[in-house]
């Protein structure tokens, strides 16, 4: 029996199908979850996909945070349930306070869409354990509000606890503090990432297959339990 990984669809989600496809290619069963229900359908992990939930009105992710499904996810995540937030999903995780900081407008104001090189710095999280430390990967980055911001105290905490999971390499796309592309919570079960691993799982359509490792990592974690 394969593991069940939920992919949440909010109004305005765009990358839920690609995320579900990545889950399936990693060898798990993708289970569609709907924002208006609080039913997690017995999934063992959840992906919050990219897109523009609720039109990005108010602030990115601010309204999605209060969707019924998020109540269930926040409660479960606080008890170690694995959650990966990609792009808009990362913004939702910050608005939910499952992750510290916030994502703000790219410093150059442009919506970016490019293949971005990253360095994976923390390979102990539920979603990055399949990488080797300091591995360089290339996956797409596409967003208008990807600049990771937080106060100095939070930044020092993230750095000293090794909770920066990925950093932008060679190019500063958005003005994120310390070139942060992704972070995790203390336990490592919740990970937020601005670039899109679900778009880099096949060479036909992506710049690499590096993204698949995020999805196989969580399966490895679940097997090890």
């Amino acid at each position: 029996m394969s593991f069940r990984i939920g992919v949440v669809t909010f109004p305005g989600s765009l990358d839920d199908r690609d995320a579900a496809r990545a889950v399936e290619m990693a060898g798990a069963t993708a289970v569609p979850l709907f924002h208006a229900s609080d039913d997690l359908k017995e999934v063992q992990a959840v992906v919050l996909p990219g897109g523009f939930s609720y039109g990005d009105y108010l602030r990115c992710g601010a309204i999605a945070r209060f969707a019924p499904i998020m109540n269930s996810i926040v409660t479960a995540a606080e008890h170690g349930f694995p959650v990966l937030g990609i792009c808009n999903g990362f913004q939702v995780l910050c608005e939910s306070h499952l992750l510290p900081g916030a994502l703000t407008r790219n410093s150059n104001l442009h919506f970016l869409c490019r293949d971005q090189k990253l360095k994976i710095e923390n390979t102990n999280t539920f979603w990055t354990n399949g990488f080797t430390k300091d591995q360089e990967i290339t996956i797409p980055l596409k967003n208008g509000e990807g600049s990771f911001q937080c106060d100095d105290e939070t930044l020092n905490m993230l750095e000293s606890e090794g909770r920066v999971i990925a950093r932008y390499l060679d190019f500063d796309p958005n003005g994120s503090r310390n070139l942060i592309a992704g972070i995790s919570n203390e336990r490592g079960n919740v990970v937020g990432l601005m670039p899109h691993p679900e778009h880099a799982i096949e060479t036909l359509t992506g710049p690499s297959t590096d993204g698949l490792t995020f999805f196989t990592s969580v399966l490895h974690q679940l097997v090890g339990r």
Partner: protein, 81 residues
């Protein structure tokens, strides 16, 4: 009927590229007075009658949880009668 104004601004230490873009557009139009520009949001909320202290506390709570993100923003609540 009262109108509640909630003004939300990015904290001073948070980069505001939108404000910077406005600041750089002003001199192009011949407006040379601006040293800097910060851009924020303003919410106008109407309600029947004047807010009670309990309702004002509710408004503060809404401003803190939904209308602003305390990680990057501050807010001010004003009541116009």
């Amino acid at each position: 009927m009262a109108t509640i104004i909630v003004e939300v601004m990015l904290k001073p230490e948070i980069l505001d590229p939108q404000g910077q873009a406005v600041a750089s557009a002003l001199p192009r139009l011949g407006f040379t007075f601006a040293k800097s520009v910060r851009q924020g949001k303003r919410f106008e909320i109407t309600m029947d009658g004047d807010p009670t202290p309990a309702e004002l506390a509710e408004i503060e709570k809404a401003a803190e949880t939904l209308l602003s993100n305390p990680v990057i923003e501050t807010y001010v609540v004003k009541v116009i009668k």
